[in-house]
Subunit: 379 residues, 2 copies
């Protein structure tokens, strides 16, 4: 069915509203909702975080009695289940809306279409498929988790123009500049979890957290858009196959959740002195006696991780590419040359023909300070 320009305008607004939740909704999806009556917005809402009102409920609360006979634009199919809140589909029926326009169906195969059924059974006109591609962009991680029972995986790296990440002696501070590092904070703040390998932890002793003081250096962030109190620390996930972590590493002294992934269990009492909320998960190994990354991603599903941000070294990045587990590859490049004797970006098997190399698809390239940032997707 053809949508009007008016429909487009209101759905576009609903998408903008949905984006406001992007730092806080995980593990829930980002959803925006606009209610109109006689070509006038009478209610608006978005989902801020788990436990808070859904977008439709918030919009209905604003519209009050004006929802009677109204049109409702919502970026995701209204929910049909009793969860933390009653189902939104029922709330829309109860409020007496006349027509519901939906950008995309719920990606969860178990629930997809049920919200729509509730509405239709109540005699509401339901139209699906307006600005679907944009709506999907709001929830790439949520969609991946629902469809494939694993998080959406973004690998982030930084290198010189000649693809080097550190000098031979390991020195690497700093390849990229302050603006690029603030940009990383902007991405980190939107993730469900940040994963890295044991070598990065032992070598760099990173915090792997979101630092508000750096974050607000990012031009995309203002205190109005993201007040400090709304910053949600992603789960930190550390791959430590053979229990090499001493637990004295810096990140264990910071609040928030840490998941250690190992092949064998360590004494739980080890974690008692950590400020962080530490948990160990034991992962099956692959043929090479290493953590099986496919198995790991399935295990992570129970933690409801939509978006997984990997700050990887050359080995882990290579393993993820080999397993075809990289949905997005973000590379910050400094306009510098480090030479053939420096360390290479990604460890891959020996290729004997150009057909075998890894091909990606450029999504965007922009200058960030003195550096550039490339966002690439699976081809």
């Amino acid at each position: 069915m053809p949508f009007t320009q008016t429909d487009q305008k209101y759905m576009q607004r609903a998408i903008e509203l949905a984006k406001k939740g992007r730092f806080t909704t995980s593990p829930n999806p980002n959803v925006g909702c606009v209610i109109t009556l006689n070509d006038e917005i009478v209610g608006e809402g978005f989902h801020l975080k788990a436990g808070a009102g859904h977008a439709e409920v918030n919009a209905l609360a604003m519209a009050k009695e004006k929802s009677l006979g109204a049109t409702c634009y919502v970026t995701l199919e209204p929910c049909s289940h009793f969860g933390r809140t009653p189902p939104c589909a029922l709330a829309l029926v109860k409020a007496g809306v006349k027509r519901v326009v939906i950008a995309m169906v719920d990606p969860n195969p178990k629930v997809a279409g049920r919200g729509i059924s509730i509405l239709e059974e109540a005699g509401i006109i339901v139209e699906v498929g307006l600005l679907t591609a944009q709506a999907e962009q709001l929830n790439l991680g949520f969609i991946t988790r629902m469809k494939f029972k694993r998080p959406r995986i973004t690998v982030k790296m930084a290198s010189s123009l000649d693809g080097k990440t550190a000098l031979k002696n390991g020195e690497s501070k700093w390849i990229t500049g302050k603006a690029a590092r603030a940009d990383v904070q902007y991405f980190r703040a939107q993730q469900s979890a940040i994963l890295t390998g044991i070598n990065t932890v032992l070598l760099d002793n990173p915090s792997l957290n979101v630092r508000y003081q750096e974050l607000i250096n990012s031009p995309q962030i203002t205190p109005e858009l993201l007040p400090e109190a709304n910053v949600r620390q992603p789960i930190r996930i550390l791959l430590d196959s053979n229990n090499k972590l001493t637990l004295q590493e810096h990140l264990f002294s910071l609040p928030g959740k840490v998941l250690i992934v190992s092949l064998t269990a360590r004494d739980r009492s080890d974690f008692d002195l950590c400020t962080a909320d530490v948990e160990q998960i034991i992962c099956p190994k692959n043929d090479l006696n290493k953590i099986d990354l496919h198995e790991l991603m399935s295990l992570l599903n129970q933690y409801e991780i939509n978006d997984l941000w990997v700050e990887a070294g050359a080995t882990l990045a290579g393993e993820l590419f080999k397993c075809d587990l990289v949905d997005e590859f973000i590379l910050y490049q400094a306009i510098k040359l480090m030479g053939d004797q420096s360390r290479s970006l990604v460890n891959l098997p020996h290729f004997s023909t150009m057909n075998d190399i890894i091909k990606l698809k450029l999504q965007s390239v922009v200058q960030i300070g003195d550096d550039i940032r490339l966002i690439n997707h699976r081809e």
Copy 2:
């Protein structure tokens, strides 16, 4: 002195005219000229190629008697010497122009200011310095040659995102796509000379020429802008320290000039069977018994090379960077990963601190087909 918006407009037009010569003027500079009378353009001209009329002469020819009392906008100081044509400064005096606006002074220290003196001595109002930066961009190579007695050097390379140029076994065809290769043709067509090293010649057997059929795939080129007959083949310069070339290599069967740079002379009769016009120059060696690149650039000065385009392998590129002889570094990056076992972009000495690595300054980054092109300058 303050220039008016009208002045700006006409000088901008003169700059656009100058650009039309960029495929053909070498070794001469690009120059454009606009003559106005009563705020109306009465003459326009640009320099097409050595031996053809200078920009001012062409504009005067169009203006005819309307040059009396006119204003002349010219991107470069009018010449003062009798060369292939009589001095343009005298021609302007003779034509009775009232005022001459000049974007930039002649960069040749031996002649700078003489053209201006001739005009001023004839009572013409001369104003210098309008849109100077833009005018300099027209003639970066010419300016470098005049000031430093060497060509302006652009190093062009192509690599994967992880800075690799070939597989371990040497295979590299093709890292970048058709559009990037057409773009290279667009740049080649504007060069005075193309230089490469012996290894590239022996490995790739390249033509190192401008191929019109590929060139017109570049979106910047149309047959109107550059008719096939106007394509000028840059001089091909091959670094062959120890006379390893067999002269059976493909490029010797193509017409045009080839300069072989060696440390010792070979028999001149070797060249008799080549279709190309081959010449050998003997270059002094450096402390490592290799071609001294600084000496080479001075030697090239006698060939009036403004813009030297280097299609280098990792060794030659590294040597040029070490000698601080890279004015511009153009990198085509394919959105691909080739892994740590593939060949690195540039051979540089071992660096023990990040302060020692090579830093460049990004001028632009754009997508070209599936690849990206970065233009970088010396920091």
